[in-house]
């Protein structure tokens, strides 16, 4: 069984599974894409963001 046949049989063959694949894929992509862009943003702006300077002002009582 080739790879494409395997994908077809497991994901595309039944419509319920197909729709479920789309929903799960959208959810996982959303989470991954969010994490990736946020990681890039925080690395690019390192030292300028509030989370980078917050520790200087937070008192122990808050933590």
């Amino acid at each position: 069984m080739s790879l494409s046949t395997g994908i077809y049989n497991t994901l595309f063959k039944r419509n319920s599974v197909f729709v479920g694949t789309i929903f799960a894929g959208a959810f996982l992509f959303g989470v991954g894409f969010d994490t990736a862009t946020t990681t890039f943003w925080e690395r690019w702006n390192k030292g300028k963001l509030w989370k980078d300077i917050r520790h200087k002002y937070v008192t122990d009582a808050e933590e």
């Binding site: 300028k48 963001l49 980078d52 009582a61």
Partner: protein, 331 residues
């Protein structure tokens, strides 16, 4: 495509179609139909379009349109005008400064926002209000919740009415907006020799040149050049349109003492307070740029996918060849 054909061509094609059953492949008809679009035509439409009456009415229409436009709007677009004024009336053009948040991927420098808030509170707030910023807006941007709450509680706000219908004073809460230095516009004007200190909430958006202009204005105070008269109580600033501004220079080296030890030079304070005011004008700035990164990635991917799908679908149609095999002309 059709507009390039003359009216005569349509006539020729029509007559060709009507007679095709009898003389389909006779050479002369085919040739005349083929060159129809390049031959001079003598249709009634063309003779009307080329007539003097058409020329005259088109000219009249043009002149009428220009006259009507000039009457309505005063001037014509794209035509230069002579001004009886000097360029200094427009204010000096500010330089472009390398702000830490200038690029499409750059966030605000939040340490600078915090220092800028200190400058605003200790210097600017004596005259300028900041109506659209509440204490809670500072939380998670430049101050912790406890700090913001402590700062708010130092200010008394009027609240009420209470159960007896009386208004009462209470210490501020996070949800309260920044206190204004004057109770109303008249009080502000009378305290500043008739000039109204503008509210600073949206000042960076509201001024041409934005952050560059505010920075240039704050650091640009000089003595008036020879020949420029500045009235009493006014100050000369080349960046201010007209040159005469009611606000005096307020930022001098060492005016505030930064808690993080940054040397408080004039330009440092101006940079910090402009960053703070830029944040006040665009509190959504950081989030907006983060969404921008995502949107550009997603939409450019979708764009290239749509190009691929278009070519995928159209490829066979565009690359097909249609052959015409004429019947043997023997009958």
């Amino acid at each position: 495509m059709l507009s390039r054909l003359t009216a005569g061509a349509f006539k020729k094609v029509a007559s060709f179609g009507a007679s095709r059953s009898s003389t389909l492949f006779s050479g002369s008809r085919a040739a005349s139909a083929r060159f129809a679009s390049t031959k001079a035509s003598s249709s009634a439409f063309e003779s009307l379009a080329n007539s003097r009456a058409a020329f005259a009415s088109a000219s009249l229409f043009t002149v009428g349109s220009i006259a009507w436009y000039t009457h309505l709007y005063g001037t014509l677009p794209f035509v230069g005008k002579v001004h009886a004024s000097h360029l200094s009336d427009e204010g000096l053009h500010p330089s472009a400064y390398p702000w830490s948040h200038k690029g499409p991927l750059d966030s605000f420098d939040h340490a600078s926002i915090r220092r800028g808030y200190q400058v605003y509170r200790e210097v600017c707030a004596a005259c300028h209000s900041l109506d659209r910023i509440a204490w809670r807006n500072l939380v998670g941007v430049s101050h912790t919740a406890d700090e913001a709450r402590a700062m708010a509680e130092e200010v008394e706000y009027m609240d009420g009415p209470d159960a007896q219908g009386e208004m009462f004073q209470r210490p501020g809460k996070l949800a309260d907006y920044m206190p204004a230095p004057y109770p109303n516009e008249e009080a502000a004007r009378s305290g500043n020799a008739g000039a109204l200190p503008p509210d600073l909430s949206l000042i960076v958006k509201a001024r041409h040149g934005g952050a560059d202009y505010i920075f240039s204005l704050l650091t640009g105070y000089i003595d008036p050049p020879a020949g420029v008269e500045i009235r009493d109580g006014m100050n000369y600033n080349p960046y201010f349109p007209g040159g005469a501004i009611s606000m005096a220079r307020v930022l001098f080296d060492g005016l505030v003492e930064y808690e993080d030890g940054t040397p408080a030079t004039t330009s440092q304070m101006a940079k910090d307070v402009v960053t703070f005011l830029n944040w006040a004008a665009e509190p959504e700035h950081d989030e907006r740029k983060q969404y921008g990164i995502k949107a550009v990635i997603i939409f450019s991917t979708l764009f290239w996918i749509s190009l691929y799908v278009k070519r995928f679908k159209w490829g066979p149609i565009k690359n097909r060849k249609i052959f015409y095999n004429p019947p043997n002309n023997t009958h």
